[in-house]
Amino acid sequence: MAENGQPLIKLDGVTKVFFTDEVETHALSGIHLQIDKGEYVSIAGPSGCGKSTLLSILGLLDSPTEGQYFLNGRPVAELPASERARVRNREIGFIFQSFNLIGDLTVFENVELPLTYRGMKSAERRQRVEAALERVGMAHRAKHLPSQLSGGQQQRVAVARAVAGEPLILLADEPTGNLDSRSGEAVMDLLRELHRGGATICMVTHDPRYARHADRSIHVFDGRVVEEQTEMAVTE
């Protein structure tokens, strides 16, 4: 639960329909979902089931066609674009499957990027970036360009970028999808460590091995939540 007694995330009958010419595609149909502060939730399901659409709505990259979305008790589904950007910047940390580091920027600058959009002072930014890189074990690579790092290292930097702003929730989209198994494990260990430190994490994955790391696993099929498993059930 959030500090105000509300769940950190609450989706209430969220539906997403894509309209193309004469075809209506129902990506999500009446999703009800709650994520509490400090929870580690995984969203699983086959390709095209609506996982990514759900994550994009959770991350305020997209809005629902119907239904309500409360983030930390505040309705956010209808926010104007600039306010959504502000919420994304301050309250949500993204970890993408393809890392999404900007090739022209150094590791330090990549991690610093979301903080610059807050208008944070340089000294504070530096402090936060150094701490975040320290946390993921990439401080020694601060001056490198992404192209000089391995995939696993790039994803660690992406994690550092996500946590540097101290968001309410980390949204991870297939964070191991572009990594070999060893690097994947390392990134999952990092997320688990963050969770232990109090971070709320919502991760999309189709890999059951990694889904087990979560406290709760939600299965999506044809745009609906078809099953929810707690940590015990997941572990079994």
């Binding site: 994550l55 990259l61 950007a85 994304r88 999404n100 959009y117 572009n178």
Partner: protein, 800 residues
């Protein structure tokens, strides 16, 4: 090669929008370059239309420090002694009146001291040219007429040679007809008739004076002689004349320049500047097209990779791409030539400048060959970089699809090209700005008289009907009285010449009581004027008095001088009451009775020169110009002016009636022509540079969509993204501006002699054009920046 050509055409047809854009951009560049090249070729480069034109020279008798100068007829006769030249001949322009062949007409005339046609190696259509006997003082009057006059006034009579024409009231034997292909001197209006210099009384009178330096002199180099040898020999003769005739020649020296150089020299810099400007526009067009091709090359990577995978070597791919470029440029060249036909006509029509041979400029085979070469070179120039860049791609990676879209090398090349476009645009804008300010400064120059609401007309009196001073003075008085009585005319006056009309007259003088050294050059612009001249012209009287009707031929000789003359020759003294003897009409010393404001005599940019005015009745001339000041629109009074002259003397053809504002405007014609064309080229260049920046930024935004999406996903506001694009634009603009400013500071120095009232590194102009260009950069960046803010951040969630 055939396959390459076929594929090139097919490809261009499949992308009509791209093809049209490239053809349009290049056609503008090629068309504009072709227009200016045709003018440069026709005016500067093409040999004069005379036999062995490169052996023709101009012999200049110049006052030390001057660029050009004329000789006296006795000087010309002495110069004939040189062995290194032959057919030395002097000539000067004027007009005569033809009567008895329809309405009386004023003929544009060239008076000669000898056989001008022999010097120029120009055969006549009929008859012969002047023999020595024809040009001797007292010889029977003879004339060579132009073919157009022969057709228009003599009905192309085959028996015209040997017949007579009434010129200046006397029967002149027509000895020859010059063909339409011959025209000399080369000027904007064709010469109607060539006459011996002694045909008129005034000509005969001046031709006998060593001090009357009024004829241009040309000659042909003798066989085997070089221009240097001729210069040395003629220079030595000049030195001898200076020693023998110090009063008239001490301050003079004789110089030799190729005839073509003398004719085109005053236009060389302006035309060269315009050619450079238009070349820069073409360069920008090439850079733009290279940019477009680079962009398209990205889209064609897969196709080129397949070609490479199928065995096409790098050279083969480069060839294919170059063939495409050259096909594009060939189409653009054809369109450009069509544009140039219209453009040349427009430029010639808009050019009031007396640029020699401009009206004969054509898009001929030579110019077409230039356009073809230019098109081919252009195609290679803009196609080379994209072709080599495209040929360097890694076929394997491209076909696997793992290569990311953005090619840093291509991006850098595009950025350099665009920054170069900005730099060149700045250069052109700075040049155009300086020329524009020059024009503004010239238009603000105080000409010293009030040109508004005035009309002027030249009148030339034939010797036969006005053989002496009393006759001339009587006609002059009757003319002024007649003009004054025209309704709507406030005042009327006359002057031997009027300022800025292209007719100026200089005269030597001596101040009473001062020793005169021969080498001193005491010369002033001179006008013989009527009593109301200063008030009618609006020339301010500074001190003393103006002329009155009492200052007539019986009255003591008097003189009015300009402020500059007074200041120069009577420093710290009062010029009023001083006595000055002028080198015309030996009427003894004249008393200075007034000082008037300075007037621009021949050019607006000239420094004020000494000027003097004498009463017309005291120094009458067989020609004068009348000027009237009207109550309202002067143009409405033009017909009345002509009618008044015809009423006075039906055989006296009225001259061309023009407002003085027309002449003042003509005085800015050359700078206006240069500034207008330079501004047009700068505008095109800036537009193309703006398009180039737009293209690079739009492409950059398209290439960086994912990055922009990531930034938006991480919480960037639209303003942050807009700033990102604008910063890139500003960086490109700043790089271009920096390079452009450096280049402009160096290159605008070449414009110095074309500028007036502004320095070649004028900070205001440079600042203004920099701001303007930066505004263009920002405007060009606006759309890509706005597009960038509309990137869907969802793109960040999608895998590569």
């Amino acid at each position: 090669m055939i396959t390459d050509l076929r594929q090139a055409f097919r490809l261009l047809l499949t992308a009509p929008g791209f093809t049209s854009l490239v053809v349009a951009v290049l056609a503008i560049g090629i068309g504009a370059t072709t227009v200016i090249f045709s003018i440069v070729d026709g005016v500067l480069l093409r040999p004069l239309p005379f036999a062995d034109a490169e052996r023709l020279i101009a012999i200049q008798s110049v006052t030390r420090g001057d660029d050009d100068g004329t000789a006296s007829v006795p000087d010309v006769i002495d110069l004939k002694a040189a062995r290194t030249v032959q057919d030395v001949v002097g000539y000067t322009g004027g007009s005569v009146i033809l009567t008895g062949r329809g309405e009386a007409a004023t003929l544009l005339t060239t008076f000669v001291t000898g056989d001008l046609m022999a010097t120029l190696g120009a055969p006549l259509l009929r008859g012969r040219s002047f023999a020595d006997a024809d040009v001797r003082p007292g010889a029977a009057p003879t004339a060579v007429i132009a073919e157009h006059l022969w057709r228009e006034r003599f009905g192309a009579d085959a028996a015209v040679v040997g017949g007579t024409a009434t010129i200046e009231g006397q029967a002149c034997t027509i000895i020859g007809v010059a063909p339409e292909t011959f025209d000399f001197p080369i000027q904007s209006k064709r010469v109607d008739v060539w006459l011996p210099i002694a045909t008129t009384q005034i000509g005969a009178q001046l031709a006998s004076q060593r001090g009357a330096h009024f004829v241009h002199t040309i000659a042909r180099l003798a066989p085997g002689a070089s221009a240097e040898q001729a210069a040395a020999e003629l220079g030595a003769i000049g030195e001898r004349l200076a020693r023998e005739f110090p009063k008239s020649n001490a301050a003079r020296l004789v110089r030799v320049v190729p005839l073509q150089e003398r004719i085109v020299r005053q236009h060389r810099l302006a035309l060269t500047v315009l050619l450079g400007a238009v070349g820069a526009v073409l360069l920008i067009a090439c850079a733009n097209v290279a940019n477009l091709l680079l962009t398209r090359g990205v889209g064609r990577r897969r196709e080129l990779a397949i070609r490479a995978a199928l065995g096409a070597g790098r050279g083969r791919i480069v060839r294919q791409l170059l063939v495409e470029s050259v096909v594009l440029s060939a189409i653009a060249g054809a369109v450009g030539v069509l544009l140039s036909l219209w453009g040349l006509a427009a430029v010639v029509a808009a050019s009031p400048v007396d640029i020699p041979r401009l009206h004969d400029v054509r898009i001929d085979r030579g110019v077409l060959a230039f356009a073809a070469l230019l098109s081919a070179a252009t195609g290679i120039a803009f196609g080379m970089i994209p072709a080599f860049q495209a040929s360097r791609l890694d076929a394997g990676e491209t076909l696997k699809g793992t290569t990311i879209a953005a090619d840093p090398r291509g991006v850098r090349t595009r950025q350099i090209l665009v920054a170069s476009e900005v730099a060149i645009s700045l250069l052109l804008l700075a040049g155009a700005g300086l020329l524009g300010r020059t024009l503004l400064n010239l238009q603000r120059v105080d000409v010293g008289f009030a040109a508004e609401r005035t009309l002027a007309m030249e009148i030339s009196l034939p010797d036969t009907r006005y053989p002496n001073d009393p006759a001339r003075i009587a006609f002059y008085r009757r003319t002024i009285d007649a003009l004054r009585s025209i309704p709507g005319v406030r005042s009327a006056a006359a002057g031997s010449t009027l300022p800025l009309t292209g007719n100026d007259m200089g005269i030597g003088f001596r101040v009473e009581g001062r020793p005169v050294r021969d080498e001193d050059h005491t010369n002033a612009a001179y006008h013989a004027v009527s009593p109301d001249y200063f008030s009618t012209m609006g020339i301010r009287l500074v001190r003393g008095r103006a002329f009155t009707a009492r200052d007539d031929e019986q009255a003591p000789p008097v003189l009015v001088v300009s402020e500059t003359l007074a200041r120069t020759y009577f420093p710290g003294e009062d010029a009023i009451g001083k006595r000055v003897t002028i080198g015309y009409h030996n009427s003894g010393p004249r008393e200075v009775i007034g000082v008037v404001a300075d007037v621009k005599e021949s050019e607006l940019s000239e420094k004020a020169q000494p000027e003097m005015y004498a009463p017309f009745p005291q120094t009458p001339w067989p020609f004068f110009s009348v000027v009237v000041r009207t109550e309202r629109d002067p143009a409405a009074r033009a017909a009345a002016l002509r009618a008044a002259i015809v009423r006075l003397d039906p055989e006296q053809p009225p001259g061309d009636v023009q407002t003085l504002t027309h002449y003042v405007r003509l005085a800015t014609a050359q700078p206006r022509f240069t500034a207008t064309l330079a501004s047009a080229f700068a505008a095109i260049a800036t537009l193309l540079a703006g398009l180039g920046i737009y293209g690079v930024l739009a492409y950059g935004v398209a290439q960086r969509r994912r990055e922009i999406g990531i930034r938006l996903a991480l919480g960037a506001q639209p303003g942050d993204v807009r700033r990102l694009v604008m910063t890139q634009a500003a960086a490109l603009g700043a790089a271009g501006l920096g390079a452009g400013l450096a280049g402009a500071l160096l290159l605008t120095r070449a414009l110095s002699s074309l500028l007036f009232g502004v320095t070649a590194s004028d900070p205001t102009t440079f600042g203004a054009v920099s701001l303007l260009l930066m505004a263009v950069v920002v405007a060009a960046a606006y759309l890509p920046a706005r597009r960038a803010t509309r990137v869907d951040p969802m793109i960040a969630l999608r895998a590569d």
